[in-house]
Assembly symmetry: C2
Homo-oligomer: 562 residues x 2
């Protein structure tokens, strides 16, 4: 019995991409350094770079007319460049919630019966086509998120593409576990039972993917590709301030689906504005079964509370650092200053609370006092923020005004060792910039030190000794969650103790990061992003759970003899 609608052209795409996906799957298992797309812009043809820039410029102040989905009206988006503080002037087609859902259901009825091999072939092809658009998407990312150029290129380009391929690799692993067809035979004595069995992975239902303004591509692609891989059709609801970068990805997918005889609406862009949001109406719709989301805690808790939904949430945590002992304090301070400054601290993995023992931090040369450590951290931030080339390249710009307001509020509550202040961007004089505050908590249980202050900040938190610091980290991890956590120690016994305790809180600890290795970075095919096991997230890029929760094996049995 043939349950699927098979197609030779799509099957050929699977033939084309299977070897590469096999490689990716091995890399996911092996977890040593591997990538699908190089992170250095110079690795790509020069023509792609110039084409990307001109495509970006040509798109500004125009309707985004590359989508292949029904639209009832064009809406002007809320996208404003954090560098120029000018509207991008883009408009997108918009429908009504009921129509989007109905269109997605129709597409689902086709997509679920495309064999998963063909689906993976198409999706790998889409990533390859996306790679030719990395430069346009980088410009679009820079001018929606405020990221500096290099980060915009890497995060929305090769790093996001790698996470997409990783999600496909895990889907390949899991979908290939069970065969489509098998003949089962059992000797029943007088007779031989013969049963033909068919196993099809069935998607849980329609998927809604809710984007975030700071990483509109990187945080969306893993869930998007995982849902598509298992046969779900997808509504992609970008953040109103960061639509353009992901709209390019959607248009590539839609074009490809159409080219291969499928409804382009297997993925739809569901754009809204601040004035007329649609996210809740989509999320609450009974046909929406899977929800992927990156963003604040309040909305995350609302999504979690919706009955009958399967959620993949990355919310906020309070990332912590503990200094027990160090080899070289200056190197550590420099490393942490970079991590706190990168994209003005607007990363879910940026460090916030640095627990420093009042009893001091041990080094091979003797113990450094609490005050010496605090000064070193302040100095390192100061140096970076004051560097005319480093500041724009590392800090970039603030995504929105609320970030600056939040950091000013933090400064008003804390003991301030370095005030937050703008820097002047050499190229964009109107850029919305802010260098980090270095704040100090009076005591580790200060209420505001238990909350995330998303933005450029480092909070020094005094503890009696390293053991208290470790317990504070553990409690913070269990109660508030963390997406990153750093411990500095040159004592092997303390390291093992910390490793075990923090693992029990499902926190991914980074020990002794220094030089050019930063805790903000989580690398596809090697690091899991989020564990899913502490309050900061209930999902992980990309473990098996991230894929298998999206579909169900359905077995059919056809009795030929009994």
């Amino acid at each position: 019995m043939e349950l699927y609608n098979r197609d030779a052209r799509r099957a050929a795409l699977w033939e084309k991409h299977q070897p590469r996906l096999e490689e990716a799957r091995s890399a996911w298992h092996r977890r040593t350094y591997w990538f699908a797309y190089p992170e250095d812009p110079r690795a790509y043809p020069e023509a792609w770079a110039s084409q990307g820039e001109s495509d970006f410029k040509a798109q500004l102040n125009r309707p985004f007319d590359r989508l292949r989905q029904p639209g009832r009206r064009w809406v002007l988006s809320d996208e404003v460049s954090p560098y120029t503080q000018q509207s991008l002037g883009l408009s997108y087609p918009q429908s009504d919630v009921g129509e989007w859902i109905e269109t997605a259901r129709e597409a689902l009825s086709v997509w679920r019966w495309v064999p998963w091999t063909e689906r993976l072939g198409l999706l790998m092809e889409s990533v390859e086509r996306f790679s030719r658009r990395f430069f346009e998407v980088a410009h679009a990312t820079m001018h929606t998120t405020g990221q500096a150029w290099m980060m915009a290129f890497q995060a929305s380009g090769p790093h996001a593409a790698d996470r997409a391929v990783e999600a496909l690799a895990v889907a390949y692993e899991e979908l290939s576990h069970i065969p489509y067809h098998v003949r089962w035979q059992k000797d029943l004595g007088k007779v031989q039972a013969v049963v033909e069995k068919y196993f099809t992975p069935q998607p849980e239902g329609l998927s809604l993917h809710i984007g975030v303004s700071t990483f509109p591509v990187w945080n969306v692609l893993p869930g998007l590709y995982a849902s598509l891989a298992v046969g779900s059709s997808v509504l992609l609801k970008p953040h109103p301030r960061a639509i353009y970068p992901i709209a390019v990805v959607v248009s590539i997918l839609q074009e490809l689906f159409e080219e291969y005889g499928l409804p382009p609406t297997i993925v739809q862009l569901t754009v809204d504005t601040f004035r007329e949001p649609v996210t809740k109406a989509l999320a609450e719709h009974p046909w929406i079964r899977l929800i992927d989301y990156t963003g604040g805690n309040e909305f995350g808790r609302y999504l979690e509370s919706l009955p009958g939904k399967i959620t993949f949430l990355e919310k906020a945590g309070v990332n912590g650092v503990l200094l027990e002992s160090v080899e070289d304090l200056e190197a550590v301070a420099k490393n942490l200053a970079f991590s706190a400054s990168l994209y003005s601290g607007q990363m879910c993995t940026a460090p916030q609370n640095v627990y420093v023992p009042r009893s001091g931090v041990k080094t091979p040369q003797g113990t450094l006092s609490y005050e010496e450590v605090r000064s070193a951290l302040t100095r390192a931030i100061e140096e970076l923020a004051g560097h005319p080339k480093a500041a724009p390249a590392i800090l970039g710009a603030l995504q929105n005004d609320q970030v600056a307001e939040r950091i000013q509020r933090l400064a008003a509550q804390a003991i301030v060792h370095r005030s937050p202040a703008s820097y002047t961007h050499p190229q964009y004089t109107q850029a919305r910039t802010l260098t980090p505050v270095v704040a100090e908590a009076p005591a580790p249980d200060a209420a505001w030190a238990q909350e995330e202050h998303f933005g450029p900040r480092l909070v020094v938190v005094p503890v009696q000794d390293a053991q208290e610091g470790l317990e504070r980290l553990y409690q913070l991890a269990r109660q508030k969650g963390m997406l990153s956590c750093a411990v500095y120690t040159i004592d092997p016994a303390f390291k093992r103790h910390a490793a075990r305790l923090l693992s029990e809180a499902a926190v991914p600890v980074s020990f002794n990061f220094r030089g050019q290795v930063f805790i903000n970075q989580s690398v596809a095919f090697s690091d899991f992003h989020g564990t899913g096991g502490n309050p900061a997230s209930n999902a992980s890029f990309t473990d098996s759970a991230f894929v298998v929760k999206r579909f169900r094996w359905v077995g059919l049995r056809d009795c030929l003899a009994g």
Copy 2:
């Protein structure tokens, strides 16, 4: 860095059992006929059979003193034999909820740091030791559930053990995906970054497993072994009327853990009584994170509504059968009569609603009328129920009085073609027995035909034609859920149409089951039990999701050079 507490004796157990588990894992992938433990009692030493019987007799009317866990008091259980209607006279040690949880947390802190290889070795060993107790557990099952002897032996013995090994095989698959330790290196130009990475699977937390009175071992073992495999410690809350069979399994595990230097309380039996239930207090306890449950819908919905829990629920559905066309009606009627009668219909996979077209059922010899089909079904039930040897061997006894009351209520609402009545058991004159009712619904939308009537019953439901029947099946599956579903058709186009539609409702369809192949049976290593995708269950024995939702990968990074 060594995070685990390793032990050479436990590692030797892994060496011993790994080849067999490897075989089991291949079988799970292959899905052809395979078993770990033979289902024929004669495959086991005669001495085990007689020992089992005498152990059972010696245990009656005595405290169950084989557990190695703290107890504050002995409680007399509510267990009553459905065959003799006498109390088994067993008592069990009981603690308080707070103490059970505290003990489980202590055990968790040890068990999670036993390497998963050692855990799997221990758990495979425990199944092997359990196999020597199959006969005692079979007697205990018969006299708590009311199952006939052969079913009691198979369901609580080899079939349950196979499902345990299956859960361990899936855990082996998933836990071996990611290495414990890897050295990650990346050329950063001037320097070489070197990061040691450690990945440990961390259990989501403590597990609670809530047993059911009809299958106290079979329905519990998959979740129990899956939770233990990922390093969770476990509270096992049996149904108050069916404790003894699973208590034997717990005692085997506890003895083994102690023998290998571990806390026996990694698994605890948390016994309660009807007068003083503890299930809700356990389920609501904040330290309980995972809940496995088999039972009614109302309690299932309550468990699902508890915030912050990960649930694996098998609730009730309304299993449906559709007769479109048949090769041989008598053979089909006989097969369905057996499925409806087996264990007096007290199986979650027993058929209930049989949709029969008023336009008749096609056969190669012509069309049979609706009335002919209904009569054939009634006759087949009558023959089986009236057969002096078949009735006791197939029907067994009713687990409790509510089953009979429920079937009498059903009969009062329906058009009755065969009244439910007791049969006399040749060996146990006091046995609580009931043969199936054959009921008819006036129309497919009769409210009572949308509800499950757990017990010996077959409900004939008239539909205009096969297409309406298929739509009714689909709607019933989506709204009420099904754990089994049968379609009879000799038309290949109708078969494919039905296969695709019902797959979309995540219902496991069985086509044309006849002879000795019954829809009630789901076979480990080949059939998934439940899809988890329709309202009857949110979990499946045993797919990847059944295991991976219980743990989280936590990655540690130790920077050696940057």
